[in-house]
């Protein structure tokens, strides 16, 4: 089973962000090859938690995260408390690393945390760069970062992906205090989900749903909660 864990970890590092279909497509042949029973549901969560335990001391994590926009759960490999400038993969030029940080900045500065496709290619101020990447290269990079889970595409718009939510949690929390705030109830970052119609403060749908079972006001401003919860 240890070989399966290591093989699965290598696959997760390589794919970076996996939905449940991909996890299944990887685990089924891997477990068959090593002749062990494939872990499912709770066993899968435990299997992943055990791998996570072995890498926490190395500043890495392998955790499940639900993305509020797609509604899907992803398994994400992340470097603990990374910042965009440490995202420096070999084969990426200095300009391309800068571009990555710029895209995150654009997303972070948006009140609603998403941008239109064309905004990813316009109004880019490359500092001290002789040759900014071509549009074709930028498109290829955006696609690569989406595949890796740093970005997520939905409804023709670009959002922070599941890996960014985990890996850059610290960075986002402290660099965009105007637009990115923690949920008043659980203290984790909330980017989309739902807003109070009075104070405009964002809150997790699940958090407010539980809260409203026993109370009827907004936990932030105290006024009566009037926003519909269902999507």
């Amino acid at each position: 089973m240890e070989m399966v864990k290591r093989g699965f970890l290598r696959a997760c590092i390589n794919r970076s962000s996996l939905d449940h279909d991909l996890i299944d497509n990887i685990l089924t042949p891997l477990c068959a090859h090593h002749e062990v029973t494939k872990p499912v549901n709770d066993e899968l969560k435990e299997f992943v938690a055990e791998i996570n335990d072995s890498i926490t001391k190395l500043s890495q994590s392998l955790t499940f995260v639900k993305h509020p926009i797609s509604g899907k759960e992803y398994l994400v490999f992340a470097i603990t408390d990374a910042t965009p400038d440490t995202h420096n993969y070999p084969g990426m030029t200095a300009a391309e690393c800068q571009y990555f940080a710029m895209i995150l900045d654009k997303l972070g500065n948006q009140e609603d945390g998403h941008i239109a496709w064309n905004e990813a290619y316009s109004e880019l101020n490359f500092k001290a760069v002789a040759r900014p990447p071509s549009k074709l290269r930028m498109q290829a990079l955006i696609q690569q970062w989406t595949e890796m889970g740093y970005l997520l595409e939905a409804n023709d718009r670009l959002y922070f992906g599941p890996r960014s939510l985990v890996e850059f949690e610290f960075y986002l929390r402290f660099n965009f205090p105007e637009t990115i705030k923690p949920c008043h109830l659980c203290k984790q970052l909330v980017l989309w989900d739902i807003k109070c119609s009075d104070c405009g403060r964002k809150i997790h749908r699940e958090c407010i749903r539980k809260y409203l079972r026993t109370r009827s006001n907004c936990p932030t401003c105290g006024k009566k909660w009037t926003t519909r919860l269902s999507q």
Partner: protein
């Protein structure tokens, strides 16, 4: 593992390279076993990040990621151990200078789902090339390789629907830099023009076994694995010439160009 006060004070003096250089390398290696510190984490993350594209990691780049060369040398045994125990990755030093390392997984991928879409394309093309080299006696002239690919409707100078538009660079740059292919120029005789030959590189030899390639070949050509028995024996013979005790029919029957099987001198 708690760090000893000796290690703690040494780390505190990390910037004081003068005191570091006074220690010989053997003293460094014999010192108290390393604990996992930030430099160890940096080295591991550096290696994992740089191993993704499979290009060998230069030792100088590795040392640049931490305080200095000695700090890197001290931690390398622990880093290798952690890579193997936690990730099943072996850090292998390549022959020659400057010092370079490649990362090889303890087992090949169990399915292509473990690979990204571009890696899947690379692997498909690579396996076709490695299979052809294997079947033609471990070494093949570049023009003959391109001709074989053309027969499979893969023109190395044209865009291909699946493999993309940079197949020539993929073979000559990517696969060679990744150490999957070895490319050398040689002359069959002083009267011939020098030609370029491809053979399996050190990474291919570490990661892929001949039986695995035979399985791939049997699917590619729709033949039973036993069909390739002679090539398998020959390839294993090229790698282990001392194991070839008697000349056998396989050498006479297969085409081989500059592979010499000098069994009489054994």
């Amino acid at each position: 593992m708690a760090s000893t006060s000796r290690n703690a004070s040494r780390r505190g003096n990390a910037r004081n390279t003068q005191s570091q250089s006074q220690h010989t390398q053997s003293q460094i290696l014999e010192s108290t076993p390393m604990a996992i510190d930030n430099q160890v984490r940096t080295l591991i993350n550096f290696i994992l990040c740089h191993s993704a594209n499979k290009v060998p990691i230069k030792f100088t780049d590795l040392t640049a990621s931490v305080d200095n060369r000695n700090e890197a040398i001290k931690r390398l045994p622990l880093v290798s151990q952690l890579l193997e125990e936690t990730y099943g990755i072996k850090l292998i030093q390549l022959d020659g200078a400057p010092k370079r390392y490649i990362c090889v997984a303890e087992a090949p991928v169990a399915s292509t789902a473990e690979l990204t879409s571009s890696q899947q394309k690379h692997q498909a093309l690579l396996y076709i090339i490695l299979t052809y080299i294997f079947l033609r006696g471990s070494k093949i002239e570049d023009e003959k390789l391109y001709a074989m690919l053309t027969m499979m409707e893969i023109d190395v100078h044209e865009e291909h629907g699946y493999f993309g538009d940079d197949i020539f660079d993929m073979i000559n740059d990517t696969f060679v830099n990744q150490q999957y292919l070895r490319r050398e120029r040689s002359q069959l005789s002083p009267y011939d023009d020098p030609k370029t030959f491809f053979s399996w590189g050190p990474r291919a030899k570490c990661e892929i076994t001949y039986p695995e390639i035979v399985k791939f070949a049997s699917k590619l050509f729709n033949q039973d694995v036993s069909f390739f028995q002679q090539q398998l024996m020959m390839a294993e013979g090229v790698d282990n010439p001392e194991m070839m005790e008697t000349p056998n029919e396989s050498i006479d029957n297969t085409e081989s160009y500059d592979v010499t099987m000098d069994t009489d001198s054994q």
